[in-house]
Symmetry: none
């Protein structure tokens, strides 16, 4: 019943400080998987276990639950920022990358639009930061006459709306619904894919 066949007798060794970076990466990757499977409220211990490290290592790298989530989602946001920084970037292309992350990572959505479920932990603090970065990336390419440029809030409300539409067990279904949502909004979206093809 051990969850994965891989490690076995790897744990009780102390590989020195060189593995620190590797461990951090493993934790982020594990967190991404766990979040996808069980949601943002998954036990932190399950992340450490999946990463193949002790709980203490996780707490060293990430002081609290929020720090883990931030680390995971930071990559998503960064890709969107990179898409926006590309020389040939346009709003449709950036929205495509954004949409890809919406369909790929439930956690991404949850954090981006936190507060529906009141009384949450301390997520809002860093959630706002991530959300702001996404907004800036998008707005940089929003032409004046664009459908979402009319009112101040329209852009991020539209993003939230698409997030709301993105449900379903498979990524394909989620992408299908996301495209339908953009279509209902009358907004053109480029290819739904991660940045860098």
């Amino acid at each position: 019943m051990t969850q994965r066949p891989v490690p076995e007798e790897r744990r009780p060794t102390n590989d020195g400080r060189r593995v620190a970076a590797r461990n951090r990466a493993a934790l982020v990757a594990a967190a991404r998987e766990i979040y996808a499977e069980y949601g943002l409220d998954a036990p932190l211990s399950s992340i450490a276990r999946r990463a193949g490290v002790g709980q203490g290592v996780m707490y060293r790298h990430f002081p609290d639950r929020a720090a883990v989530a931030t680390a995971v989602l930071d990559e998503n946001v960064r890709q969107i920022e990179q898409a926006a920084a590309a020389p040939d970037a346009d709003i449709a292309g950036v929205l495509g990358v954004l949409t890809w992350h919406q369909t790929e990572s439930a956690a991404f959505i949850s954090v981006l639009h936190t507060d529906a479920a009141a009384g949450r932990t301390d997520i809002p603090a860093y959630a706002a930061a991530l959300s702001g970065r996404v907004e800036r990336a998008l707005r940089a390419h929003l032409p004046d006459g664009h459908r979402l440029a009319a009112a101040k809030d329209d852009l991020m409300i539209a993003v939230a709306m698409v997030s709301g539409a993105v449900t379903g067990p498979t990524r394909e279904q989620r992408e299908h619904r996301a495209r339908a949502a953009w279509r209902l909004l009358g907004v053109e979206v480029g290819p739904v894919r991660p940045f860098g093809e």
Copy 2:
């Protein structure tokens, strides 16, 4: 020593049957409050406490966590159905009532569109039922030429989109965003209010 026992504020006949009904109502009301304040993951014990009953009573009325949520949301859905059943009902009016419940109850949204955060409890089963009832209520009044009548899924995708937009600490803010969302969809919505004014 054969004094009559003191009456001691005996209300109706208190035959157990009546108490049971009262308790059930108290539990549903308490759950609604608790959900609003702490989200759907709030401890069940807090619901029983707020209702002023023992935990056992709660388990008698509702075998599990899902049953409680269903009972709470059932009222919301029923109102939408009633709005649809009204003699002078039209799609804008029903959407208005739907929107009111979206802005009023975070739990309503969470359950209606569950699955974003995979691995959830067992909510999907009854969530689908509630969602289906809402869809039927709306579709009964959807005229053929309506913006959301084009594709099969458009109606409920639009509902999900508005749900996604509904965030914010106060009901007023949430209503404001909901209206903006419908506007972006080009859909006309009647007064946002509970059924029965």
Copy 3:
């Protein structure tokens, strides 16, 4: 390696609400023993284990570490108050009872004079209350010409001094040192014993 031979198959039963009082008493008794053996910082889980109850029961009866300590020490203080309330009470007699508790319960001393080790938990709050009750009990019988009646603080400073002297592995040794301390203070002390002989 199970610590005590007694219980065995007693735990997994639910004896209903009648045992609540019994459990509370068992917890207080267990806490008294544990405190004597391991000091006030002993794991709370060890107290629950020794009492033969689950951890949850302990938390039901005592919301935090301080509540447990208070409950334990409350009995000590109450005895001193009772000694002071006795019809034939005099200062020497009350000091004797106080001294008995000083020699019997290390926790009693620790709490009564908390703050030596800075940064402590939240003990001070209730510690002050207990300390005040002891002072009132003593002062009620302090004659005007008494050695400890000269300055306002002298009484409780003297109590603290005796507490400081009370060290040693056996109660007899501790009593011996306590008596020596009172002698050095020139204060007469009655029989060192619990209230009620």
Copy 4:
């Protein structure tokens, strides 16, 4: 590429030997501060951190928790011994220096009179040594007719008593209470100050 390496604020000769000594001193100083702020149970890691060294260094210099405490308190005891060794030393003067350390360092007291809270770690072993050195320093100057020279134990019992009285958040308050304690004992004490003015 055969440039001379940048000097980079190289202080003395930095031959490892010297660094070790500096580290040890830093650790002792850090431990003293930490003990004062958080008590003797403070995490060892906090001491290493405050000293600006790795945890490994601490374990090299001090094999266990007790060794750290001993090193810290050794300085306190040494001052008392120096006070006793001074050409013009008398009992009042040595008691003054002792009292200064009692008021200044809660850890000093805790260790000197350990065992009240039984089951403690392994402190008693070295605590006895420190206590013995203090006693020898005092007894060297105790005149035959002195109030504390009557019975064998009276001297250290009195010291313990004063320690017991020394509580309070500020050093001034603690000194005030220490003086009151000595006064109640009828013992004259010289200026309360560290050795060497």
